[in-house]
């Protein structure tokens, strides 16, 4: 289950004076079973890109292939060179109409937006989690089974099923909201800043959960500001800046690219900078083993003999 994006452009308010180019010539591949970080400052286009992954936004131009569900603007509308396009609205409508069976796409790609707990709405936990799978036409028993499994995975036990989600703690609400997405059994799980606003222990629990979902065979795309998370959990990192991909590499390579970092506002995680300093000072640190504080401590122990 992979996503291939080619020459993707997205312009907001196309044709209006407020027109704004949000994404420019995006080319990238999210491999099957990937764990990829999307990095970029506010306004870099991360959220715009994410919304393309399940058809919430339609590209202004370009192509997205989500496991052979093809969104290809050139097939939908051929803009002749030199010809002035006047009716943007009609153009947009046309693009949307061409997206057939969007439900099948939404089933493949589950998106957990920022502060997903704001999207809880049913009066019990179990109903809220069941809402998604129900809409994908599963039988009642299947729905219930999926929902229970998802809740179990996020660590919410059966005593919570009949409780109202609004009276849970912040961390619990978020886990319920995530269960609602997992219950749809997406092949690709996209999470936009899932740990923002959680305290240190809540953050760790959630990331361990995401790791587990990944191990069970789901591809993960994680938009985050937190470089410690990128280093510890992600296999690849895509850096967006003002609507363009400016770097795509492993976290290890990204955090060692001093030339690139100098010109960006990214800062490697503390643990990695410290490991680099140790290495510069002559300690034989193997950077690829450094993921967090405890693995750095082990590397130091090994290097000092």
């Amino acid at each position: 289950m992979s996503i291939i994006i080619e020459h993707l452009y997205h312009t907001y308010d196309e044709g209006l004076p407020t027109q704004q180019i949000a994404l420019q010539d995006i080319n990238c591949i999210f491999d099957d079973h990937c764990f990829t970080a999307l990095i970029g400052q506010t306004g870099s286009g991360k959220s715009t890109l994410i919304q393309h992954l399940n058809g919430l936004l339609i590209p202004t131009s370009g192509k997205i292939d989500i496991n052979s569900y093809l969104i290809d603007i050139s097939l939908i509308y051929k803009e002749k060179k030199g010809q002035q396009v006047v009716d943007y609205k009609a153009m947009k409508k046309k693009r949307k109409a061409k997206l057939k069976d969007i439900k099948s796409l939404r089933k493949k790609v589950g998106i957990v937006f920022q502060f997903p707990e704001y999207q809880l709405f049913e009066d019990t936990v179990i109903k809220d989690v069941s809402y998604g799978p129900k809409n994908f036409g599963l039988s009642e028993t299947e729905v219930l089974e999926n929902s229970k499994k998802a809740l179990d995975l996020v660590g919410i036990d059966s005593s919570y099923y009949e409780r109202t989600p609004f009276e849970l703690s912040g961390g619990e609400k978020r886990r319920v909201a995530i269960a609602g997405i997992i219950a749809m059994k997406p092949d690709i799980l996209v999470l936009d800043e899932p740990t923002v606003g959680l305290d240190a222990s809540g953050e760790e629990k959630l990331l361990t959960l995401i790791q587990k979902i990944h191990a069970d065979g789901t591809s993960i795309i994680l938009a985050t500001h937190d470089m410690d998370v990128v280093l510890k959990y992600c296999e690849r990192a895509i850096v967006l800046d003002r609507g363009k991909i400016v770097k795509e590499s492993s976290p290890l390579e990204l955090f060692q690219d001093r030339e690139f970092l100098k010109h960006s506002s990214l800062e490697p995680p503390k643990v990695f900078s410290f490991a680099l300093k140790l290495k510069d000072a002559g300690l034989n640190i193997n950077l690829s083993n450094v993921k967090d504080v405890s693995s750095l401590a082990q590397e130091i122990k090994r290097a000092r003999g």
């Binding site: 400052q41 240190a200 506002s265 800062e267 410290f274 000072a281 300690l283 401590a297 122990k301 000092r304």
Partner: protein, 290 residues
């Protein structure tokens, strides 16, 4: 003559407050809503020339405390004394002359139409000549590295640049007490480091300056002589950064994470590597590379 007598009465120093005290808080209590005190009987003596960091999670009362010290808010009960003078309705404005304050949001603290106007704003009622004023503005702009932007409009600057201008404006009046209320919180990591370095530089130029840092980023608190841990409106601990950070259970309980270097030291000790206590990351680095 009469005026002078009045002034000295307004700024009367209390003898029972220590002479070397810059900010003295006694039983300070404050609430926004009745029966929901944000600060409960705070007692603290901040000495002249000290760098003090207040740490605590959101809602612990840190920012409220800063506003009380600057006389922006008025306490329900208890006393605040600035350089031995107890603050009251009549002298709050006079006492505020001693204090420079920088807030978290760079967008909410601009007055001038250009960077130089903004830095000069606080100097305008200080009876200063034009030449002197200009000199001071340039001096401060240089300190924060904004000397090439004097004619720029503040709204066109980046967040980090705005915050640097705000600091320049706060130190232009040469306050004896500088309060930074999460001054780096909205900046990216590089912006944060730049702000920390500016503060360090200013402190070197002006060793008598008393600095109050309000932060929930513990790395910042490393720069302080004393760390005050606030939780639910009460002081849990007042000690050196080393002692406070060694107490990681307490910090964890109130939702704060200990700084990286302390975490690493703990981790190394658990692997039977004997690491002595240290004062900063450099010392740890030097020790490990020995």
């Amino acid at each position: 003559m009469k005026n002078k007598a009045k002034l000295s009465e307004l700024l009367k120093k209390e003898n029972n407050i220590p002479k070397d005290s810059a900010v003295y808080l006694k039983d300070l209590t404050f609430s926004y809503e009745k029966n929901h005190p944000i600060l409960k009987k705070i007692n603290l003596d901040i000495k002249k020339g000290q760098v003090v960091a207040f740490i605590g999670h959101n809602g612990s009362g840190k920012s409220t405390l800063a506003k009380l010290i600057d006389g922006i808010l008025i306490q329900d009960s208890g006393d605040i004394a600035i350089f031995q003078t107890i603050m009251n309705d009549n002298n709050a404005l006079l006492l505020r002359e001693h204090i420079g304050l920088v807030f978290q949001n760079p967008d909410s603290q601009f007055i001038g139409a250009t960077v130089e106007d903004d830095i000069a704003f606080g100097l305008e009622n200080q009876n200063m000549s034009q030449v002197e004023m200009q000199k001071r503005v340039i001096e401060c702009a240089e300190l924060v590295g904004m000397e090439n932007y004097l004619k720029s409009e503040p709204s066109n600057l980046s967040g980090g640049q705005k915050q640097r201008v705000a600091i320049a404006g706060a130190i232009a009046r040469k306050p004896e007490i500088l309060i930074l209320d999460e001054a780096g919180a909205m900046l990216d990591p590089k912006g944060k480091i730049a702000i920390r370095n500016i503060i360090k530089k200013e402190k070197e130029l002006n060793p008598d300056l008393t600095i109050i840092l309000i932060t929930h980023e513990l790395e910042e608190a490393y720069d302080a002589d004393t760390v005050v841990v606030l939780s639910s409106g009460q002081i849990l601990m007042v000690d050196t950064p080393e002692k406070v950070f060694a107490n990681d259970e307490l910090l964890k309980n109130i939702g704060l994470d200990i700084p990286f270097a302390h975490k690493l030291r703990k981790s190394l000790i658990s692997l039977d590597i004997d690491v002595p206590e240290f004062n900063n990351e450099e010392e740890l680095l030097n020790f490990l590379c020995r």
